[in-house]
Symmetry: C2
Subunit: 343 residues, 2 copies
DNA sequence: CACGTCAATGACACCGCTGTCACTCGCCAT
DNA sequence: ATGGCGAGTGACAGCGGTGTCATTGACGTG
């Protein structure tokens, strides 16, 4: 009697469970989704049958029938960058018990790969997006707009948000740290950048504005689009020192570069901060354990993830969202690597 | 005429495209999946219509109808751990052009969360799994077995592989690095471990075996299940030195701890390796840029990811797999942090 | 006692796509 | 002229669930 049609996949289905229990399949479906609508004894029998048969619901079929995927997409530029793994943790925490599945993708800092991912996730029927702020392709924008789905851009604060946004003002942060260095007495301040995405560029703009406001020179700037590594931090340091020997301090666009530069200084016997002051960006763990401890801009990575997830969740539940754009700010951590004890 | 039934989601469907072009929907489907079966002029018209209408295929429907999801699941313990982000890169690279979608999940080192993820991905109808080796729940094993899907365990070499496996022998690696330290002349060698998962435990076992083989003391061992951090590396160093003052060298179960210990030494003015030798595990970038450079065991993380993906892909394509278990080995990097220049 | 109400369950169509098989038509070999 | 063949296209029935509405029977109420 349990003969299967030719096309049947062989998996245990709702029908199999229903037949085993002797009820209709819709009752099984209800027992799983609206347990209070099914009588207790029947529910118990159904649970046993499910366990016995090893039934696993088919989400594809469920989503198709209900036009609900209960999934959202989170697209980050990189998964090897510690910055995003903390954001991810924040997002995960919020969505953990929400009943939504988080589909995670990484674009490798490519807006075309991002576009591909958006397309893929749309074809999966996700109900919302968390993407990182910055540039998107025209097509990405069109896809998101046409989908009508809620979108949260995170990390930066876009000038023209697609929908919602959570992050911080990277230009202001770059300006703040540079101003602090100036206040400490540094005059020849360089900039070292790698993986110059939109936000790194903004930090650079802040650095430049601060210097110009004080009538200081803003030529000691070296950047590359290569991925950021410790090694590259050391290389940038050497390049900057080589080309701009007067440099007293360098603001690196992230902590990896700053730490790499610090290590290079140690290797060369350059004293930090006496011979060279170094500042980073993000406030990663490493800045707090090296000697001297690294000055940096602490960014609220995990809160950004949490807040982005909360915003999206509210919109998914059709709850009102107080503010569509949330600036979570930043904190300056002025530490030993830029101390004032100079000659 | 384009009136929609009440249940229609409002999205553009294959039918909409078909009506627009004036052919049947199966032809549109074919134009997308088997382009050579559709005449050239028609194909062009179809492409235009798809572009114009903004049609995005519904993967749920497609998977349901074809009983193929073209997706595989990759479950790693952690996404903040740099080790796995490299594995991930290897996997991604192989699957990039394969037509398979990689669904990525992280278990947070919890076998119960892993079980939940396996269940979730099965309900998505994935066609294969890459999971990390080590302990699994009974239920996880049952689910995987019952599914009949190909499974690759990666990182370690399980004694009883579920199906396929790619990795290295962590016990042998722990033994090798400890033996190397002994050969260098160290006699009081400690072990510091955090996030003591299955593989870290194996490294510890290797450390112990090496010491015993040489009649050396194996009590200077401190471990914790807490997540591994730089800070914790420093704390473990202090604890070990405090409780086992004779310790001359410490093998840490990963590079984060080793680097943290090195930084703590620097802070305290302890000379490395003269006062204390330090070794790590994995060969992360940082080991190569700090001063002194850290001795470590270099593990083939990216190749593990690539190989795991290749194995899975072969099985998905029903190609023969030469070896179900692949040991990719490891390399000792004996560097300055364990140099022989002792007093 | 008739009636409305509510809890519990079922029947049926449909979500959007693909497997399968059938059909049409032009062309070439016989 | 006839038949066979392959390229190009279509009809139909699912895939495994869920939305919607109907049905049944027990119970409380005036």
């Amino acid at each position: 009697m349990s003969r299967r049609s030719r096309r049947n996949s062989g998996r245990v289905t709702l029908d199999d469970v229903a037949r085993h229990v002797g009820v209709s399949k819709i009752t099984i479906s209800r027992a799983l989704r609206q347990p209070d609508k099914v009588s207790a004894p029947l529910k118990t029998k159904i649970e046993h049958a499910i366990e016995l048969l090893g039934y696993i619901p088919n989400r594809q079929a469920g989503s198709l029938a209900s036009a609900r995927s209960h999934a959202i997409a989170l697209i980050v530029p990189s998964l090897s960058n510690g910055v995003f793994s903390e954001v991810l943790r924040g997002v995960d925490e919020v969505f953990q018990q929400s009943g939504y599945q988080v589909l995670l993708g990484h674009s490798g800092y490519s807006i075309h790969e991002e576009e591909r991912l958006v397309n893929t996730y749309l074809s999966y029927g996700v109900e919302g997006f968390i993407v990182s702020s910055g540039q998107h392709t025209e097509r990405t924008l069109a896809l998101l707009k046409r989908s009508g789905l809620p979108v949260v851009e995170m990390m930066g604060i876009p000038k023209a948000p697609l929908d919602m946004a959570v992050g911080l003002d990277h230009e202001a942060a770059g300006h703040a740290i540079t101003s602090a260095l100036i206040e400490l007495g540094y005059r020849n301040i360089g900039f070292g950048g790698a993986r110059m995405d939109f936000r790194a560029q903004e930090r650079l703009n802040g650095w430049r504005r601060a210097l110009r406001e004080h009538g200081l020179d803003d030529t000691a700037c070296l950047t590359t689009f290569s991925p950021s590594t410790y090694h590259l931090g050391g290389a940038l340091l050497n390049d900057i020192v080589g080309r701009f020997p007067a440099t007293e301090a360098i603001f690196f666009c992230n902590d990896d570069l700053a730490a790499g530069a610090l290590f290079e200084c140690q290797r060369q016997g350059l004293r930090v901060p006496t011979d060279m002051a170094v500042a980073g960006f993000n406030g990663m763990d490493i800045t707090d354990v090296v000697s001297p401890r690294l000055t940096t801009v602490v960014t609220p990575r995990r809160p950004i993830g949490e807040r982005a997830a909360q915003l999206l969740l509210k919109r998914l539940n059709a709850e009102p969202v107080e503010a569509r754009v949330v600036d979570l700010g930043f904190t300056l951590a002025l530490r030993d690597s830029t101390s004032i004890e100079r000659a």
